[in-house]
Amino acid sequence: MKKKKDLKISRRTVMKGALAAGAMMSAGSIPSKLFAGEFNIPDPLKPLPTTGGNMRWIDSGDMKGVFWKKLFPEYAASRGITIEYDGLPWKEINKIVPIAIRNGTVHDVFQLPIGMDPGVAVSEGWVQPWDDYIENLDEWLANFPAGVYLPGVNQFNGKTYGLCLTANKRTGTCLLYSEKYMSEAGYDPQAGRMTYSEIRDAAKKITKRGNGQYYGWIIGGNQVNRWEDVVHTFGQVAGAHGGRGGFTNRHINFQNGKFQIASDQYMEAVELLLQLKSDGSAFPGVMSMNAPQARALMPQGAAGMIFQGPWCIGVWGRDAPEWKYGIASEPVPDGKKAQPLYIAEGGSNTLWLSANSTMGPFAGDLIRFMGTEQGQIYWAQTVGAADPAVNPEAVAKAGLTGPSAQALAMFAENLLVGPNPIVRNKDVGVVAAKSRVPDPSLALVIQGLYTGQLKGVEAQLKDCNQRYEDALDQAVEEARADGANVTRDDWVFPNWDINSNYGASKYSEL
């Protein structure tokens, strides 16, 4: 295959792209990949080892997996290596990666389990920096938007350990709905953000029309994090301003540094879920299915609404291309105006290189290509809004239409960058490493309330909030005992304007 230099697109590719774009425009849908059939993989900037080898790569799959499965064979052939890819659900990554790290058999390139502090991965020596494997690293990093690469997040001791090809500017609890059922119920979520009452009413009407054949709303209820994700995001939309991410960010109101699990906004969100159940609008098997199973039932006509992420778009586009659905922002409590959602600085799907890996030159070469505008365009065209490419210019050039474009526009409108305690004080990372999410976690408490095994929303959320407060206090205490210079005041950002991005200038004011 003929190799091209970075950022140069061949005439043939342009022709293919134009044809595909035309087809896309006429069909009114998104192509799975604009440049059908090949990637223009540039020559490496410096000679790669000629010894070949097998590179193992693991991530959380979904649309990422679709892209990698297209690219990896071409890349591997061009470099004379083999690539073994495992795209697994987070639940599996959370189990496999730690065991593999302990056994010394972790993949060459991997994602860290949810909640695991990257600082621990570095200090424990599980990962190695990418600096030696990416030519002109500083120049390459300069292509990324500000705030993607940060000390304490993916850079440690002056070196870059974690690489992000995707942005974290998305939510996982959008309102995804069947156009047919919703329209029959007399609602159009595109006309404006729906209220909780409207969601209930629509769900009731869909269920009534379904007459046992389909229901108003569905959720993957045995995947417990789905409960927490919905309540957390809905609570934020309703005005519970706070962080996202791991235990040391999530559910914390950065105006006062306290957990807000027992806030009115969270309670209202939980009540909405319970009302959907008591109305009889919930799909009858929600407690025995996970999120992918629930998602798969939507195109089968089993339910009218689901609160999930933009990753559904690609999966439904592939598995049920004829099915008509819509995507809209999360609902808001009656009489309230939707508030911004906040993301932490940094990217998402951070990729780490195993300390034992000898495939660093190839992994670095591949990721360097994917970080270029051309690589990012390729990514955006296949993955779309599911895991948005981190380079906004590349996303704009990718020519996305339909639900993907709509979702990205929605995220751009609804999401702001919020404060991040670890950016303010890297010793917060020590606290993260000491933290233990209380048992039962908020996710389980909501699940217990839904099944009726726990009673009293307010009492349960207050108890849960206290457990979280105590757990963070204990983690801070343990971190301080180990010499970390950190207090609970590091979670208080008095200069936070909830209607604007919280950037470097704001941190310097503290």
């Binding site: 994090n225 407690m287 025995s288 233990r436 976690s441 996710a443 217990g448 095994q453 726990l454």
Partner: protein
Amino acid sequence: MNKKSLSKQIYDARWCYVFVLPCLILTGMFVIYPIGMSWYFSLLDWSGFTKEAKFIGLQNYYEAVNDEFFWDAFIRSFIFMFGTVPVKIVLGFIIAVFLNNQVLKLAPFFRTVIFMPVVTAIAIIGIVMTFVFSPFNGPANKFLMSTNLTSAPIDFLGNPDTVLPTVMGVYVWKWLGITMMYWLAALQTVPQDVYDAAKIDGAEGYRLWIHIILPIVLPFAIVIILVEAVGALNVFPLIETMTAGGPFFSSEVMEIYIFRTAFVTDSGTMPRLGYACAAGVFWGVAVLFITVLQGLWMRRTRRI
């Protein structure tokens, strides 16, 4: 007669020890060492992945015995055992009695059918059963509704009241074949002349089974109960694939509890290998205690 010294005895039997050595080494590596290390880990505050591991004595044990979820899981494991073992033993015995009858021409066929689930991968069964019991188009609910046994679908695996009995039912179905085989083996040890003599003496029907056959196979029953009881306390793959212990811990048995605390879960809790080992050691001792009790019972029965 001169009594040989111990060293002399060992030397004389040196080839026996040589032949036993590989087994001893493997047992040491894969049984003794892991048990020993789990005892040691149980005394540490350790995630299992970091270098930092703090010795905290019996604190993990103290925390475990004060954790309501630990005891809930502990009790649930025994509910599972007491709910499945008697059913399997009785059902397995009845089926074995029927299939042991040489007159029944289709006995090999039925034996095969009943044994088939035993050789099917348990994870596959777990996943398939989630579809079978699905309230939406699941065959179990379709059957119940088509026969008017229920007017609305039942969320067998999503309802805290039905989840454990459902999993127990699947477990019994899955392993009934092996219990049946144990009983068949036991029944085939009963000599034919015992049957003949009993019949001459006028013992027939249930009297033959209660007064003649059952006393003969009783020692086997003790062994079968022991094996079944220990088996019913090791149900991790079935429950993990069917419910993962949910909803809200309703089907969380001890193995799931240990697994949950040893690994990062999707509810966001961090791994605690030290604590999980403490729970595991406690659980192991409890199972050992039951096994010893059953062993004593077996010895007593044999004496009778």
